[in-house]
């Protein structure tokens, strides 16, 4: 069999000291890769080279760091959640990504990719969004940098995340509803890829999670690992030691991989990713890809996938639009198989309870996505009472108050009476 020349692998040694994140040809162990139509291959390879060049260019970091500080509001605080700690019997610190501009961690990646798109000379930005947080972050940085933004969003997600749809429009983005398939994030990704295939010469695809073909999983992780690096420094300052656990929710897995990378070389820190168990663990009723999926290829990468025996991608359900996705980032698949991280799942009703708990105990309305991570704390406490835990509060939940009211049978307008 003749061999096909492979693109030079990106620079894990210089970008990241983490030797376990092998990226030969964009691989994390057996996962990752570039499973895209030929028409996109030149663009994917160009993006890989451009990211590598930018990441090794001090002036790129200077620009990114300055905007992260003055525009995004980094570093975000680490907050010791005292009343929550007392209730669950742990020492809980929340990494407040909900306080980043636009209200979620998504802007870390959107800003980095937008600066990269400028270097590529591409002024039309395509994005997909589930909960709308990546769409809002995309619309925001595009407004700030004068780029055109087109955001694909499933019709079901448009219904349940209406405030974010309006925010995107206010910020000048065009939101295109996606009515195919399950009308959620998976279908928005399909449609964004189709747009990219058709407009690859002029457009950059600003993929919002650590999924997709190489270099996206690596690139998104690098832009998000600021979360973990800050959190590690902050917890050492505040608690005087490293945490016993680092916890984050996992849909595609960008906030989790960003947090995990701050602690991945600290073997004493257990990494836990919390997926959505939805209505229960029967295929079609949840979005717990790592807990219940099998390896396959979806949206350009080999990774765990929720699929039937014929390789058809399964329908998913989660009350949280941002977790409602049948795939997951390839690096998480690698971390699962290697045992460095473990993955668990939380049902809709437990996430809703955690959402309310954080409102009442800490005066913080968390995103329903992040509520899944909060909801797992009692199980951590059962395993290790009093343990020191850093939880990534990946986003704020203003967008979710309607979903919460609906799920609990209230109506927003009546709830004041």
């Amino acid at each position: 069999m003749s061999s096909v020349p492979r693109p030079a692998s990106p620079q894990p040694a210089t970008v990241s000291p983490h030797s376990n994140a092998a990226t030969a040809a964009g691989r994390f162990g057996a996962y990752g890769g570039q499973f895209v139509p030929e028409v996109l291959m030149p663009a994917v390879l160009e993006l890989d080279r451009a990211f590598e060049a930018a990441w090794n260019d001090p002036s790129f970091h200077q620009q990114l760091d300055e905007l992260s500080r003055s525009y995004v509001g980094r570093p975000t605080p680490l907050y010791r959640a005292g009343r929550l700690s007392d209730k669950v019997g742990l020492d809980v610190y929340l990494k407040r990504e909900d306080l980043a501009h636009t209200g979620a961690h998504k802007i870390n990646n959107a800003l980095g990719q937008a600066l990269l798109a400028l270097r590529l000379g591409k002024r039309r930005i395509i994005a997909e969004t589930g909960a709308g947080q990546h769409g809002v972050a995309t619309a925001t940085v595009c407004a700030m940098l004068g780029l055109d933004a087109v955001v694909y969003m499933g019709e079901l997600d448009i219904e349940r995340q209406a405030p974010n749809v309006y925010r995107m429009k206010l910020l000048g983005a065009e939101v295109r509803p996606v009515g195919s398939g399950t009308r959620t994030l998976k279908d928005a990704v399909n449609e964004a890829i189709r747009d990219w295939v058709s407009n690859v010469d002029t457009s950059h695809y600003m993929l919002g999670s650590a999924v997709g073909p190489h270099p996206y999983p690596l690139m998104v992780r690098q832009f998000q690992s600021v979360i973990g690096h800050e959190a590690r420094k902050q917890v050492l300052e505040m608690a005087g030691r490293l945490p016993d656990y680092a916890l984050a929710c996992v849909g595609g897995g960008s906030n989790a991989i960003g947090l995990f990378h701050g602690f991945i070389d600290d073997p004493g820190v257990q990494l836990i990713g919390v997926e959505a168990a939805g209505r229960g663990m029967e295929l079609g009723h949840h979005a717990a890809t790592l807990v219940a999926g099998t390896p396959g290829v979806l949206h350009g990468a080999r990774s765990y996938v929720l699929q039937d025996q014929h390789g058809q991608i399964a329908d998913t359900h989660s009350i949280s639009a941002g977790l409602d996705y049948p795939g997951v980032g390839p690096e998480h698949s690698y971390l699962k198989d290697s045992g460095r991280a473990r993955y668990v799942a939380i049902r809709d009703e437990a996430a809703l309870q955690a959402f309310r708990d954080l409102c009442l105990l800490e005066g913080i309305i968390p995103a329903l996505e992040s509520s899944h991570a909060i909801a797992y704390l009692p199980q951590v406490a059962a395993e290790a009472p009093g343990a020191l835990v850093v939880v990534n509060l990946s986003g704020r939940g203003d967008k979710d108050v309607g979903s919460y009211a609906k799920a609990t049978g209230e109506q927003l307008a009546q709830s004041v009476s």
Binding site: Q34, F35, V39, M41, P42, G311, Q312, I313
Partner: protein, 270 residues
């Protein structure tokens, strides 16, 4: 010689090109799909591309998204495509049969198992739109072991290095994607198509087959000098979708006859 090489050589000796229609197996339903393949054979199709339905066809436009969806609603699986191949092979001993599948259904079936089943069903080649050369080695090895041609794709964005690489590795034919975009019928051919085909032709002697957007007899006429065959897909699905069920076979056969005439440089009868 393989069925594909014999077909291209025979057509070339007559100054003609091959006509290779595509249908998604199981569309509009499994039984009608097989009847449509048989009718197209009678109407002058040289061979077929049989699509394996997939839930997330990211290189496909609206027409084929619907054919995939409809086929899945009828319970289509890879076995439906194998059944269609067997039915075609019973009717036509020499017509080349290609399977077109996204990668995940093949992985779920098992690459080696799939290649063995494909050969047993009478197939000649495999096309995987989301598998670029860099990722293709496992499936190419399985194809090679089973005696199937693995079909590479090239598009207008393919660089000279990629065209040379594919030219060196290809067997059967090279699937040239006519445009920068997804599948779907188009009114006009892309204006830079002749230049793209000339670049590929200069780099390899492997037969070239053109697909994506090839819808009308005049499209076939326009590319006849530059390629060895054409794949027509969405234009046929559009006819199937819009015709009344009892008129489908006649309407599709009519379009195939027109395309056949264009591929053979005969006057197209109205």
């Amino acid at each position: 010689m393989s069925r594909l090489s014999e077909l291209f050589a025979a057509r070339r000796s007559l100054g003609e090109i091959a006509l290779l229609p595509y249908l998604t197996a199981g569309y509009p339903d499994p039984a009608s799909c097989i009847e449509l393949f048989k009718a197209m054979l009678q109407a002058g199709a040289d061979g077929f591309e049989i699509g394996v339905a997939f839930s997330d066809p990211m290189a496909d436009g609206l027409t084929q998204q619907r054919t995939n969806q409809r086929a899945l609603e009828h319970g289509a699986t890879l076995h439906t495509a194998l059944d269609a191949a067997r039915a075609i092979r019973r009717e036509a001993a020499t017509a080349p049969i290609m399977f077109m599948s996204y990668y995940n259904p093949l992985l779920a079936f098992g690459e080696a198992e799939f290649c063995g089943a494909a050969v047993d069903a009478g197939a000649d080649a495999v096309i995987v739109p989301d598998l670029p050369p860099e990722e293709s080695e496992p499936l190419r090895a399985a194809c090679s072991a089973a005696g199937l041609d693995y079909i590479f794709l090239l598009g207008p964005t393919s660089t000279p290095e990629r065209i040379r690489m594919v030219g060196r590795l290809a067997s059967g034919f090279i699937y040239c994607v006519s445009l920068v975009g997804v599948t779907g019928a188009r009114r006009n051919l892309s204006s830079d198509l002749p230049d793209f085909l000339a670049r590929v032709r200069a780099a390899t002697s492997v037969p070239l087959v053109l697909g994506f957007g090839i819808s009308r007899p005049e499209h076939v006429q326009a590319v006849r000098e530059q390629v060895d065959g054409v794949i027509v897909a969405s234009a046929l699905a559009d006819i199937i979708e819009s015709a009344a069920p009892e008129d489908r076979i006649g309407a599709v056969a009519e379009r195939v006859r027109e395309l056949r005439a264009a591929a053979s440089n005969e006057p197209v009868s109205a």
